[in-house]
Amino acid sequence: MTDNAHVWHVSAAAAARYADGSLPDHAAWSVEKHLEHCGGCATRVSSAVTATAAAGRALTDVRQSLLTAIAGTARATTTAPAADRVPAAATAPLADRVQAAATAPLADRVQATTTPPVADRVPATTTAPAPGRTPAPRPPRLLPQLNRLLKPLPRPLLRPLRLLRPGHPALRGAWLTALLLVGVGAVALDRADGFAGARTLLLALAPLVPVAGVALSYGPHADPLYEIAAATPSGGLRSLLARTAAVLAVSLPLLTGAGLLLPASGAPGAAAWLLPGLALTLAALALAGYVGCRTATALTGGGWLAAVLAPVAAAPGGSLTTRLAGQLARCLDGAPAQGAWAAAAAACAALLAARRTAYDHLERK
């Protein structure tokens, strides 16, 4: 790998010299030109630059001031008069919600999963008790942060959110714990350890979370109410989709928000996993029509891990996270990759629609 060869890559030594500024100008320009079209070298150089003390400090400072600014906005949001809070809440940075989620006790969140599903269709049950019946006092059961977030929203805006509540049995304790472990764990790794590959790790694991949510939300093995639900007109694909929607509605914003809190350090953008996550979830649903939820999610999740980890194990050079970041960049970065994920998602959705009646009998599959 010499600087004057026709096809060359940035060596680790050159990357280090580029990072500390000791690379001669003409060589630095070559490096920069090359980085425009080589993901692997971009990853290597990026991590070299981040590793230098000066850049690391600068990045930390920028992130810190950004977080302070966000926290300030959040405080303003909660103290502003109601009229002002509508747009503020709607545009509230994800970071705020993620932090709120991180500080909420787990028990609270699990409790939130058992809020009555009735309210969306039966407002009378909770809001206007029938005359002659004293309503039993009920504890506020939505998690307070979510309540604060939702309250200022006008009713029409609330409706789509409340529609998800019938799907709430999907948000099982085990799955919520997994979700928090991945999302909050990545942020904690970064904050406490200064572990540079936190976002890489997050992006590698994030698509597994909604897939696991599907496995845990519906089917004879996962849902105690499955047998009864399957004998209702809402059983089958409709229940499966409602619960998947609930899983996605919680995991997509939370994990993307967690990704935004982490330094890039060579990893793709925080939102790059959204389409793959959706495509894998739909693939799991489509497969479930053939082999049942459990096997389907195991196959899809295992397939993703194999696609991401196997080349990393085989690839030469660089630290594990650097190689993982490079592999993720190949899987996620750029229009062709994202386009392929979108196409896969569309294909799986079409398959689901075509085979919708196969979900009426999911047992023993």
Partner: protein
């Protein structure tokens, strides 16, 4: 009026045959489903609940063929089902749980609160309607299961071992409720308690090894057990044993040939 018509119904669990060419026609009233363990009672109820798929045969419920998706959904709206193992969410209150099932059954929202309270009152849990299911006793949980099954006033009510876990007094009340429901709906109750059948059922179907061993009235079954020296505590029990013996003796050779 015939509400259920089964023709050549065969159900398999992997390789085992659970139901073997069952033909049956049932109408409004309370039907007891009797038989030894493994006779196919639960398999039959699960097919009628549209949860299990038959390997062969035709299942017609309330005038709809449940082999098609459209017919299946139409039947599911008019169905009440209490499975043998009643799964529930322990953190739900009785009211929320029954309302959730009502929602799954597409009950109109305006009617739901009243329907929930009525169903819970009919199973005798009105005073515990806002208790969490996890805090209730086994018999009460069973009654919550019954409440969710009847919340949509079903035309076909399927109860798999509903009296398991009820104490004697509750069983007496439960039989009263069954008779009340059977006046307008087709109620199918699987049980291994012969006295339930004698007390509450208008018709009885005896299953053995995936086949119908006897179909008739509880009185008819009791008549089979008229011989007081035969084993059994009461006429219906003796009739049950006699019908099983007769079925096992007579067509045994033919059944082996079919398999």
């Amino acid at each position: 009026m015939t509400t259920i018509r089964l023709t050549g119904l065969t159900v398999r669990h992997r390789k085992a045959v659970a139901l073997d060419g069952v033909d049956l026609a049932l109408g409004t009233g309370v039907h007891g489903l009797l038989g030894p363990n493994g006779a196919g009672k639960t398999s039959l109820i699960r097919v009628l609940a549209t949860v299990a798929e038959p390997a062969a045969g035709r299942v017609e419920i309330l005038g709809e063929d449940v082999a098609g998706h459209r017919g299946r959904v139409a039947v599911r709206r008019r169905l009440g089902y209490l499975p043998q193992e009643f799964g529930h969410y322990p953190r739900f209150t009785v009211r929320d749980f029954v309302a959730y099932v009502a929602w799954l059954k597409e009950l109109p929202a305006a009617r739901t609160p009243a329907a929930v309270e009525r169903a819970v009152a009919r199973v005798g849990l009105a005073d515990r309607i806002d208790a969490r299911i996890g805090t209730l006793s086994g018999g009460m949980v069973r009654r919550v299961g019954l409440a969710q099954a009847i919340v949509n006033e079903p035309d076909l009510l399927l109860l798999d071992e509903p009296t398991a876990g009820l104490d004697p007094e509750q069983r007496v009340e439960f039989r009263g409720l069954l008779r009340e429901l059977g006046a307008h709906a087709t109620v199918i109750v699987s049980t291994h308690l012969v006295e339930d059948v004698a007390a509450a059922c208008t018709e009885v179907t005896l299953l053995d090894a995936g086949r119908v061993a006897h179909h008739g009235t509880p009185g008819g079954l009791a008549a089979l057990g008229a011989d007081p020296d035969a084993p059994g505590e009461n006429p219906v029990e003796r009739g049950y044993a006699a019908a099983l013996r007769a079925h096992r003796a007579a067509p045994a050779a033919g059944r082996e040939a079919v398999r």
